[in-house]
Amino acid sequence: MSILVDDTTKVLVQGLGSAGRFHTDKAIAYGTQMVAAVHPGRGGETERFEGETDHSGVPGRPDRYQVDVPIFDTVADAVAATGATASVVFVPPPFAADAILEAADAGLGLVVTITEGIPIMDMVRVKRALQGSATRLVGPNCPGVITPHQCKIGIMPGYIHQGGRIGVVSRSGTLTYEAVKQLTDNGLGQTSAVGIGGDPVNGTNFVDVLELYNADPATEGVIMIGEIGGSAEEEAAAWIRDNMTKPVAAFIAGTTAPPGKRMGHAGAIISGGKGTAKDKIAALEAAGVVVASTPSDMGTAMLEAMAKAGKA
């Protein structure tokens, strides 16, 4: 079991620029079912992807792959023709919000948006438009979603992942990779890993993903990686305290970040004394979460949380 994506997920990619093409190729190498591409103006063409299979991904595949992905002008056409169930968005920032709305309009259940730099007001409107819709948006400005050996949607390096017992959820891309690698090295492995993104307005939050992991029978524990800015970690802490039945470990980045400065991510800023790492760590610890003191200790913190819960 897993959350959000598995070996039945059929993915279409929106935006076949250099990043879209590069990561579509990597996803195919991993074994993800990339069934269509949407690029207005190129409908009717196909794009060929070929190379060496990444044997860390979906098992039992031949050593080489050659796939011709059909390109469509609209998402609706792509869904009708291929039965795609999820989309990954690489469309440049000025047009990315529109791409998300198009994917939702076509009825896709999952839209993973990798694009960094979408205007905040565009995301405010998108969030409003998606309210009450059946579409789940992950991101923007995120590394994507992966279920090891089944489906990789996004830009994470596939080979560091290993199927296992822990769910990963994070606001940061590279820190997700740190956590994943440590869980692979210490043998716990991952059920899924979800990057929710570093923007102040995003589609899916910690609590949404925690709920999914809590309900997933294969997930035995969760590691969440937060950072300064906003109050998503505090809300997660309250939810964990009241609802979570599985052990949780965490790391919060930005203990040394100066107030009032945006630390790379648009959402990583301490404003008016709110959103500090210290407050977030305190809230999580009060909810029984084991908080790692450095990112190198995330795997150990997870082991500790599992041991405390009698699941070591």
Partner: protein
């Protein structure tokens, strides 16, 4: 991106938001020349001379060179001596203020040089209020915050008397509805003409925040005049950098002299860089990892000299630029390169570091930790380069090594 008060008022005026009459000046002559038109337009011989810097607390701030002069000065000489007397006093103030260093609670002890003044009409203030439009991240919507406690820091009001802060969330499909604007105006105790003007002000301000893609717009104080006008006596605006591509008029207002030169240079190379006070330079990919690298350096007893995220799509050239910017800081006693390659490939980082060392030399210890995409290739390139660097097994190991070496 931040702009000056006078620029914010220009943008507001163009969108039907009431602001006092004013003119900007960069020389004493321009300041003096501004007095008569401001007095004529305002119909009142009192003018205010305001320092223009990207930091708050100017009214209570003082100049390093002239500890008895404030950052904002009300000139009342015109009441008795007419416009000539006002002009003489403005000249004296402008000569003192321009080129001097203003220290406020927000500038730090080093202060900021004042290069521009804003000469503004004096206002007959009846009441001072507060209003701002900011993003509420919990709802993913803009919210209008208003308070009767004008002139105070809103964080202070929030801490001591949160019930005095009124809030209305803006539905992005509708904008601030009339009833919401009225509710705020009633809550602020506005009556008669001031009520009507207040509603108009709040609606126009909310619309401007959306049109202009502001991160934050704060009017503190928002004043009610004795004549019932409602206007922005101060105006602070900052913008969503992601949306600047659709606001060339706002981009043109950027004042590079207000920003850290190293941060400006870094931004040209697509690097996210923030200068800090420590001695360990950091070159990292990914914002979260870059922050966590600083935290780990601190954890093992060091102090980071900077935050630096080279980004996912960085080229060798970007990495070289990053390295050059870090080494230019004389406080840097050691450099920690910490990479977990995802999109970023470790060989790109390795080649960039080597190119940078060839260009600018390496006078301080260098610790490199590589992991992720093409890690073996990256390590091979570095070990064959003959560079005098120390390899680290993981992030904490690397942090310990560089902190030890940079001591």
């Amino acid at each position: 991106m931040k702009i000056h008060e006078y620029q914010a008022k220009e943008l507001m005026k163009a969108r039907g938001i009431a602001v006092p009459v004013g003119r900007v000046a960069t020389t004493p002559e321009e300041a003096v020349a501004a007095v008569r038109p401001v007095v004529d337009a305002g119909g009142h011989p009192v003018v205010v001379v305001k320092s223009q810097i990207h930091a708050g607390g100017r009214g209570k701030g003082r100049f390093q060179e002239h500890p008895d002069v404030a950052g904002v000065n009300v000139v009342t000489d015109g009441l008795k001596g007419g416009v000539e007397a006002a002009e003489a006093r403005v000249r004296q103030l402008a000569e003192t203020m321009l080129g001097s260093t203003l220290v406020t609670v927000q500038t730090g002890s080093e202060g900021k040089q004042v290069n521009r003044l804003y000469i503004e009409q004096g206002i007959d203030i009846a009441r001072e209020l507060y209003v701002s439009v900011v993003l509420d991240r919990a709802t993913g919507r803009n919210v209008v915050m208003a308070s009767t406690e004008g002139g105070m820091e809103i964080e202070e009001v929030a801490a001591t008397s949160p019930e005095l802060i009124l809030r209305e969330t803006i539905d992005p499909a509708l904008g601030l509805a009339d009833f919401q604007a009225r509710r705020l105006a009633y809550g602020l105790g506005l009556e008669g003409d001031a009520f009507k003007n207040g509603v108009r002000f709040l609606k126009a301000l909310s619309a401007a925040a959306v049109d202009l893609d502001t991160d934050m717009v704060e009017i503190n104080p928002l004043v009610v005049t004795k004549q019932g006008a409602v206007m922005a006596l101060d105006g602070k605006m900052s913008f969503d950098n992601n949306a600047l591509f659709r606001h060339p008029d706002v981009v043109a207002m950027r004042d590079l002299s207000e920003e850290n030169p190293a941060e400006v240079e870094a931004s040209k190379f697509g690097l996210s860089f923030i200068k800090l006070d420590g001695s360990v330079g950091c070159l990292v990919n990914g914002a979260g990892l870059a922050m966590a690298t600083m935290d780990t350096i601190k954890q093992v007893g060091g102090e980071p000299a900077n935050f630096l995220d080279v980004g996912g799509g960085a080229t060798e050239e970007n990495v070289t630029a990053a390295f050059t910017i870090i080494t230019r800081d004389p406080n840097v006693k050691g450099i920690f390169v910490n990479i977990f390659g995802g999109i970023m490939k470790c060989d790109t980082i390795a080649n960039g570091v080597i190119a940078a060392v060839k260009q600018v030399g390496l006078k301080v210890p260098l610790v490199v930790r590589l992991e992720g995409t093409n890690v073996e290739l990256g390590k091979k390139i570095l070990s064959e380069s003959g560079l005098n660097l120390i390899a680290a097994d993981d992030m904490k190991d690397g942090a310990k090594k560089i902190v030890e070496l940079a001591r």
